[in-house]
Symmetry: C2
Subunit: 253 residues, 2 copies
């Protein structure tokens, strides 16, 4: 039995996210992939991703795996899957995973990028891939505040409220390590890139929402420190919209 | 009477090009702009662009102008027009043109960019903004050949066949000067950027089509020299598809 590792790109605009949702007609990335695999291998084939991405979130380098006894080589597998996928998902790399490889449990680090456009005029071709944010942002204040988030912390305050409740009840671990949080600005485009050993549900979008509130002066760096200390989702800012977010890379080294 | 100069961005995907087409229901950029201006100024207002872009061609920096006696300031004009435009066109700058300014006749140089993606997998989010070109391309051969095109030449061979016929009949000038033709490659993305004092109808897409034929080895550098010398459109390659092309900048200095 082989473990096949796929690297995937998708335009999340027209999906209800990664995960198959029962009893709905929602298009999901997992659903489209399993449909393609089941057709190619003529038997029901399940696929497991490194993690779920939400409705509207894009990916340049999502990783997933499936098990198969196929004798096709990796290039044949790539062409066969792509030939059976809709135009908004593509497999960009196929390789054989090492013994015991698991796209979720073997993942060491993930990189997410959130992109916004700070200009006054509405967006045209970028509108599905960047958040339009026409207010003045104090980038230096955002960069300064972002340093507080780097390192090993309990990020419960940045987890979606309902998930936090469930997680707490289940006694699950909400501690993660953020290795890097870079804020780039080039003309009107501002991108926030986060690298961590894992992310809680909606964590990136909640961090971005809070940093945007620092950028506009709605809250201060001290407020952010306090939010993190109190571990209370209700103190943090609104979740930033999904369409500005992309899963850039999953690292297994 | 003021001459108002607009800098425009648009996603050309769902337009039949810049120019209003009589007796059709085709959406055009000029048509949408005139509709917005006529509504704002409560009288029929005509707009003139630096040049027409074809159906499917995008723009980051198209320039157009209109005449008006409005007393609104430039920021008010920008907001008013954007408030009346569909989401795939945006005004990104408004200024008062100097006396005698004309978006077409005052233009000194234009920059167009053609982008293609050379990977095997189909494109997802980029599919409307890049040509998918999965064949091997000899970039060095393309760069070498592109040097032949730089300078002042009669580019009739790269003009759309029907336009070339009309132009010849009308005795119009098909001589242009290309100042720059750069070919960049970054990972799978190849972009060709052309700067000239003007472009003939479909000239960029015909040049790109011919350079792609050089990249794949279908024709040689000598063939290109010959095509240019013979001034015969039928010798040149197929027109590259519209969706990879964007008008980047119009220069008036």
């Amino acid at each position: 039995m082989r473990t096949i590792k796929l690297t995937l790109e998708y335009d999340g605009s027209n999906f209800c996210g990664w995960q198959i949702q029962k009893n709905t007609n929602c298009r999901t990335i997992q659903g489209e992939l399993e449909k393609a695999l089941t057709k190619i291998f003529k038997q029901r084939t399940k696929i497991i991703g490194s993690g779920r991405t939400d409705a509207g979130v894009h990916a340049f380098g999502q990783v997933a795996h499936f098990k198969s006894i196929t004798s096709m080589n990796v290039e044949e597998i790539l062409r066969a899957i792509n030939g059976n996928l809709p135009q908004d998902i593509a497999v960009i790399n196929v390789e054989d995973g090492h013994a015991g490889f698991h796209s979720q449990f073997s993942a060491k680090r993930k990189i997410y990028r959130y992109v916004l456009n700070n200009r006054i005029s509405h967006l045209t071709w970028q509108r599905k891939y960047m958040l339009h944010f026409p207010c003045h942002l104090n980038i230096r204040a955002m960069r300064r505040a972002s340093k507080i988030l780097i390192g090993k912390h309990d990020y419960r305050c940045f987890m979606a409220a309902d998930a936090a409740k469930r997680n707490k009840a289940a006694g699950q671990n909400t501690v993660r390590t953020i290795y890097r949080l870079d804020i780039h600005k080039s003309l009107d485009i501002i991108s926030l890139e986060l690298e961590a050993n894992g992310f809680l549900y909606k964590m990136v979008r909640n961090i971005v929402g809070t940093l945007l509130d620092i950028g506009t002066g709605k809250i201060t760096q001290e407020d952010l420190a306090n939010i993190l200390k109190k571990k209370d989702r209700n103190l943090a800012s609104e979740t930033a919209p999904a369409h500005g977010l992309s899963l850039v890379k999953v690292d297994y080294k």
